[in-house]
Every structure is written in structure tokens, then in C-alpha cells.
């Protein structure tokens, strides 16, 4: 029977505690750092050769769906009542709202080193030492709202513009494509500066610190953010009943994207499933 993923703001005090405890256990066992490494390893940019499975690609959504399922499976081995909650950043938009509370993820980083000082993931609490990172900081960092440039989280309207696009993705299937649901949600714009960050990307930037870099998985908000992104794929499917994952088949030998994107029935590394198999996961979980 399918289990339920809930909005993090609706979790009871007991549910919050069990979610946090499961994360800390997975971390203590050394499993968590494997997730950090995997995400680093699969970030291939689209100006380089090689297969793009996780980002700047149509498989952005199924790759992260499968990644979340793997974390969720690890959490549920610890406590079978736990599921990954989602953070609706169109509604919970301030540094004082969930999930930035002491009983969940803790709050903003301090000045000037951005070290998270509150909650169960603060370094001083003794359970969350970073071992895979870009800098040598052993503590989790955040810069909520980008203290230097006062960034706002994406709005419901911006998310709606992604959801309204009836086409899943389009050639050249990368960060430069201007239409299609996938990139509007992943959020690669043109130009530089605030106007070029949308939806998923903008949230990584808004949280800042660890979430901005290659080792973004070090901040557990990664999972709450990506659960909400995953929910958008489900919503898009509900709104566009004929909408399917694209490309349906692999780009041909003469196509510059040949061998660089995962088509609907291709294997999605490092797993054995295909995007086709991951389009409908309603028998595994659903969203409340």
C-alpha cells in the first residue's frame, strides 16, 4: 500500500522528531555521505561532453525522484513510519517559517561564517559533521535569503508558468531550452543575476551555503525541496493527461545530443530503471 508524503508544516511534533532521528541515524551509519557523493558525481554540465542524467537534462525529474526514493528507503529501514516531507516554498517563504525551526532543520547561518547554530543539524549538536564538501568546513552553512542580495523565493505564479507548459521538454534538452515544463521547473534562465534564477535553482540559491554548491545534499532541506519539485511533476501529469516524458527515443547519431540525454526507455544511471518506469509511482507513495 502506498505511503503518504506530507507537507512539512502539517507534521506533528512526534513526526518531526522521528524524521529528524531517522536522518541522524542514516548519517551516523555513514550512508548519508554516499548520497552527497552520488549527487556530486552525477552533476555533468551541458557545455561538456558525456551523459547528463541529473541536471540540465530531461531526466532531472526522474533522477531526483529515484534519488529521493533511495533516501526514503534508507530512512524507512530505520523507522518504517517515516516518509520525506515536502516544503512548499510558495507558501512558507520566510526565515521564521517551517522548515527552519529548532525541532526540524534549524535556522539560518550566523555571520560571518554562515554556520548553522540551531537545531539538530548544527555542528555543535554533534550529529552532523560534513565529510563530503567543496570547502573544508565541517559545519553546515546557510545564507537564507542571500543576505547580500535579498533574494525572494519563487512565487506561486512562477511555478504556475512551468506547470502550464503542456510539453514536458524540448530539444536541445538542456539548460538553454526556453520552453517545456522541465527546464521552467529546473530553472535555468538566460543571462546572469537574479532574473536568471527560477523555481528549483532559485530555491538552492535562496537557501545558500551548502545548498548552493555541488555538495548541496549536505543540507537536509535538499530532500524537502526536491520532494516539492517531485510533487510538481505529479501535478503537471494531472493537468496534462497526454503529457509524457520526452524524448521518447534517443537522439540520433547526427544529433549533437546523441548519447548525452536519457530517453524514455533508456536506463537512468546509476539505477536500472527507466524514466518510463518512474513516471507513475502511485503504488509506492502519494502526496497529501
Amino acid at each position: 500500500m502506498a505511503y503518504l508524503r506530507k507537507n512539512v508544516r502539517t507534521l506533528t511534533a512526534g513526526e518531526r522528531r522521528r524524521f529528524v532521528d531517522a536522518l541522524l541515524t542514516v548519517k551516523r551509519r555513514g550512508e548519508y555521505d554516499e548520497f552527497v557523493r552520488l549527487h556530486i558525481d552525477y552533476y555533468t554540465a551541458d557545455g561538456e561532453d558525456g551523459l547528463r542524467a541529473a541536471h540540465m537534462a530531461p531526466s532531472f525529474l526522474p533522477w531526483h525522484r529515484r534519488f529521493l526514493l533511495e533516501l526514503e528507503r534508507a530512512l524507512r529501514r530505520v523507522d518504517s513510519s517515516v516518509t520525506v516531507p515536502y516544503w512548499d516554498w510558495t507558501r512558507d517563504r520566510t526565515t521564521a517559517s517551517v522548515p527552519w525551526t529548532r525541532d526540524l532543520l534549524g535556522g539560518d547561518g550566523r555571520r560571518p561564517d554562515r554556520q548553522v547554530m540551531t537545531g539538530p543539524f548544527a555542528y555543535a549538536a554533534g550529529h552532523w559533521t560534513l565529510r563530503e564538501g567543496v570547502t573544508d568546513a565541517a559545519f553546515l552553512t546557510r545564507d537564507l535569503g542571500g543576505s547580500d542580495d535579498h533574494l525572494e523565493l519563487p512565487t506561486g505564479g512562477e511555478l504556475r508558468r512551468a506547470l502550464d507548459d503542456p510539453v514536458y521538454d524540448a530539444w536541445p534538452w538542456n539548460s538553454t531550452v526556453r520552453h517545456g515544463f522541465r527546464n521552467k521547473l529546473e530553472g535555468w534562465g538566460s543571462g546572469t543575476g537574479s532574473a536568471s534564477w527560477h523555481n528549483h535553482n532559485r530555491v538552492h540559491r535562496w537557501v545558500g551555503g551548502a545548498m548552493l554548491g555541488g555538495a548541496s545534499v549536505n543540507d537536509p532541506v535538499f530532500w524537502l525541496h526536491h520532494a516539492f519539485v517531485d510533487l510538481q511533476w505529479h501535478r503537471w501529469q494531472s493537468a496534462h493527461r497526454d503529457g509524457r516524458y520526452l524524448p521518447e527515443g534517443p537522439p540520433g547519431a547526427g544529433d549533437e545530443q546523441h548519447g548525452r540525454v536519457v530517453a524514455r526507455h533508456d536506463r537512468l544511471p546509476p539505477w536500472d530503471e527507466t524514466p518510463d518506469q518512474l513516471e507513475d509511482v502511485s503504488r509506492i507513495y502519494r502526496y497529501a
Binding site: 555533468t44 554540465a45 561532453d49 533508456d266 544511471p269
Partner: protein, 164 residues
């Protein structure tokens, strides 16, 4: 299964170009192919190279102090020759910073992964903006044979199907 560096075959033939000989993402991220000697020599090599073809992304080597940190960067051609491509080598206070290129020609760094910048220098400065006081980039972790340190194998790619 072992989850290693990028360039994983996926049932379709991998695109084979000279640039495929560039360091893997993990090697590059760990800075294994960067040596002080290469960094020191690279500007001269880049500057003495042939005229840049359209769309080339060489040139623009830099060596400056930004927010108290020494940042150096240069284009290092592939040893196989100028047609084989190359890679930017960046160091912040002597430690390697991996840059990636977007299809629109802009650049991202490991520290600022969700925003791209017009030049390697701009991407490097933005990365420095993200390094807190008393922090440094993590030092490379070479393996016992000087090759890639792969102590971090993950075990998520097993033969299981969609989890139930």
C-alpha cells in the same frame, strides 16, 4: 555497483570526441590532474597557442588577489594537441576549484552550482564569495597510486527495481 565518475554508458553509444579524454568530473573535482607546475606553466602555454577559432574558450588567464584570496586560472590544452581541447585550471589559495561549462558558454563552479557566470574569472570570484572566513577549498585526496581516490563508492545502483 560502483558509482564512479561521469560518462556512464546508458545503452546508447557514448559520444566520442577528443574532449572525452578530459579528466572525469570526480578527478577534476578532486583536483588530481592539477599540479603547481601545470598552473605555473599554463599561462605561457595558453598565450603562445594558435589563433583562437570561433567559439574557443581559451585565453583570459588571470592571477589576482580577490577578497584576500589569491585566484589563478588558465586554459590548459590537452597534451594530445590543440584540436583535442583542454580544460580550465583554477586555483584558490593554491587549491583547485573545478569549473564546468554551460551550453550557452557561461561557467559554473563547484561552490556555486545553480548560477552561471560569463567568464571563468567571474565564476571564480563568485566562488570566493561563498568561501567563509578561515575556510579553504578542500584539499585534493589522491589515491595510493596517484590516481583517483575512490574510497567513496556508493551502493545505490544495485540490481533492484523500483523500490516497493
Amino acid at each position: 555497483m560502483v558509482v564512479g565518475a561521469g560518462g556512464v554508458a546508458v545503452g546508447t553509444e557514448q559520444r566520442v570526441t577528443a574532449a572525452a579524454h578530459r579528466p572525469s568530473r570526480r578527478e577534476a573535482a578532486r583536483g588530481l590532474l592539477v599540479s603547481a607546475a601545470a598552473l605555473a606553466l599554463a599561462p605561457a602555454v595558453a598565450d603562445s597557442g594558435p589563433a583562437r577559432p570561433a567559439g574557443d574558450f581559451r585565453g583570459g588567464a588571470f592571477d589576482e588577489t580577490y577578497r584576500g584570496r589569491r585566484i589563478r586560472g588558465s586554459w590548459v590544452p590537452d597534451p594530445a594537441g590543440p584540436e583535442a581541447g583542454g580544460a580550465w585550471r583554477i586555483a584558490v589559495d593554491g587549491r583547485p576549484l573545478h569549473l564546468m561549462r554551460r551550453a550557452d558558454g557561461t561557467w559554473l563552479s563547484m561552490l556555486d552550482h545553480y548560477t552561471s557566470y560569463p567568464t571563468p574569472l567571474a565564476a571564480t570570484r563568485a566562488a570566493v564569495d561563498q568561501i567563509g572566513p578561515r575556510q579553504r577549498l578542500r584539499a585534493p585526496a589522491p589515491g595510493p597510486d596517484g590516481g583517483e581516490h575512490t574510497g567513496g563508492h556508493t551502493h545505490m545502483g544495485g540490481r533492484h527495481g523500483v523500490p516497493a
